[in-house]
Symmetry: C2
Subunit: 338 residues, 2 copies
């Protein structure tokens, strides 16, 4: 195979070193030292912190062996940028560690094209990495800037908060179901729409930034709304009431059998939408933010105190009329359940 060095040079360092241009103005590199030394050197602006997240993607677990490598390059970075978005952090840089079974140049070219297309959109610079031969594995660590005390944490939900989600939920899991043959959709356009939702999630970076100082708690929905919302509840020591029928679904998803649709929307993985809480009084501002950044935002429930001191946080599901719903969502198998 190509040597490690020539791989890095050919597909990654060159792109990383390309003078970056935005609005026709050249941009200075955001790292003091990037690829080619023992370490990259970066520092957040004064008064800010570096938000750091790492995600590892494995064939068969997070993507199929025959996935379009351009889409895979996109998604590998997108899921990391989504973590920054959920924190209210502005993308700055990333490292890429890559194990490859062989040096397939066409694959690498498409993968790096997909990766850098997204990186350049978010002005996120590749500052270091590692390549090795081995079973296909992609590990990205991403860095963003966030002012101290402005980070959107999971432990900041308060009773009385509204619960919001961005975008529409469930399409990615529905796309996985189509690829797996679990269910069928009527037309090719619908199948393509769902597949795209699975393969090309859009990190909600602008929304996360706009929610600084407005939202209380936030996270990105990677493992399904039900399980991820529980992370907020547990860390904040609160419970939730959620209107399951208010959870926004696409027209395509609405065409699936009701059980599949609900399971996809409430417990499907790979959405990479934001779930956040905010004081009820902030609702008009959040609606304006959604319009400004071009991302639908929907109120789906409220945060409540746990019923009694020491009781475990929980989610009470309701239907549109407010009647309790008994949902069995645990164990719904999504793509990267571990």
């Amino acid at each position: 195979m190509l040597s490690e060095f020539s791989l890095i040079e050919r597909f990654f360092a060159r792109r990383a070193a390309t003078p970056r241009v935005r609005n026709d103005a050249p941009l200075a590199p955001r790292a003091a030292l990037g690829i080619g030394d023992d370490c990259a050197l970066i520092a957040p602006p004064a008064g800010q912190q570096l938000a750091i997240s790492t995600d590892m993607l494995v064939e068969g677990r997070h993507f199929f062996a025959d996935v379009d490598p351009h889409a895979l390059g996109h998604k590998a970075l997108a899921v990391n940028l989504s973590d920054l978005a959920a924190m209210g952090a502005a993308p700055r840089a990333f490292t890429l560690a890559l194990a490859l079974p062989r040096a397939d140049e066409r694959w690498l070219e498409a993968f790096s094209d997909g990766l850098f297309a997204l990186a350049e959109r978010f002005d996120c610079e590749l500052v270091g990495g590692d390549t090795t031969s081995g079973p296909l594995n992609i590990c990205i660590t991403v860095f963003g800037d966030v002012p101290s005390h402005a980070a959107l944490r999971r432990d900041a939900a308060r009773p009385g908060d509204d619960i919001w989600v961005s975008g529409m939920l469930g399409d990615a899991r529905a796309g996985l179901g189509v690829l797996r043959g679990e269910w069928r959709v009527e037309d090719d356009a619908s199948a393509a729409y769902l597949k795209r939702a699975l393969e090309r999630p859009e990190p909600r970076v602008a929304l996360g930034l706009a929610l600084r100082g407005v939202a209380h708690a936030a996270l990105d929905i990677s493992d399904g709304l039900a399980g991820d919302l529980m992370h907020i509840l547990k860390r904040s020591g609160v419970s939730a009431v959620v209107n399951a029928d208010a959870v926004p679904c696409s027209a395509v998803l609405s065409g699936l059998p009701v059980d599949a649709r609900r399971a996809c929307a409430l417990a499907g993985g790979d959405d990479y939408e934001l779930c956040f809480t905010a004081p009820a009084g902030a609702a008009p501002e959040i609606a304006r933010i959604g319009e400004r950044v071009g991302v639908p935002v929907t109120r789906i429930g409220t945060i409540e105190p746990v019923p009694a001191a020491g009781r475990a946080p929980s989610i009470a599901w309701r239907d549109a009329g407010g009647a309790p719903l008994s949902l069995t969502l645990q164990g719904f198998d999504h793509f990267h359940a571990d």
Copy 2:
């Protein structure tokens, strides 16, 4: 297998969250926010930068399937700390992404013990990570603090500099040769010594910190002296004259056939010693630093200008008497050559 969440909780988050104590005084966490949120939050001290390095270790490529998991936990972090050492950066934090074929609790316990034993020695805090099922793969990203402009870079070697190495070279590659049956050593103690050199490299963190403001260029020797020194030469635009017989070797390595010994010392991988350059006048100070931090330091050559403008940097090898040596080191197969 254990769910991702319980894996993280059981073997990693608990240790990460253990109140850290040094010299009987509790230490505050060095991260503002660690495991359990979308991102960790850290910031270097005022006037400093964050040095970042990432390494991916793959079974069969960087370690054998039957490696002692405690040693593997040590080595996975050690090779990353070695990159910080080579930069003159003080360890601060790391993230761990781990793909595991199965949740073998005994294996995980030993791996995490080896990992945290080293992390605690260097006050390096686990701040985030990811676990998934998949072919065994360990990706660590490490973060250190280094004052702006004090970092030991690869591009700072100057003609007239001495070339130094720490410790002794070649033992790790010799240990690999023993495990592979390429050669034999006489006694079990020698075999164990070489295996330990391969499996438990000691990151030269204290040496790297002490060389701030003293050394010009530095890197850690992971792919063999000859190849790694070339990285300094190319990035600095200089050449080198190296006394091959001055390269420090252990008594055990000296017992190997001369060709194997020389190949191990000059082109073996996995040494994780530092190679650095410094002005000739700094030699006495460097000797004192070596004594103070308890690491042998040895002058092995000098940096020279490239013979003519535009000529490629190169290494001229000499024997102890100063006579030119013709060495064919390229292609010597070490553990993780890619």
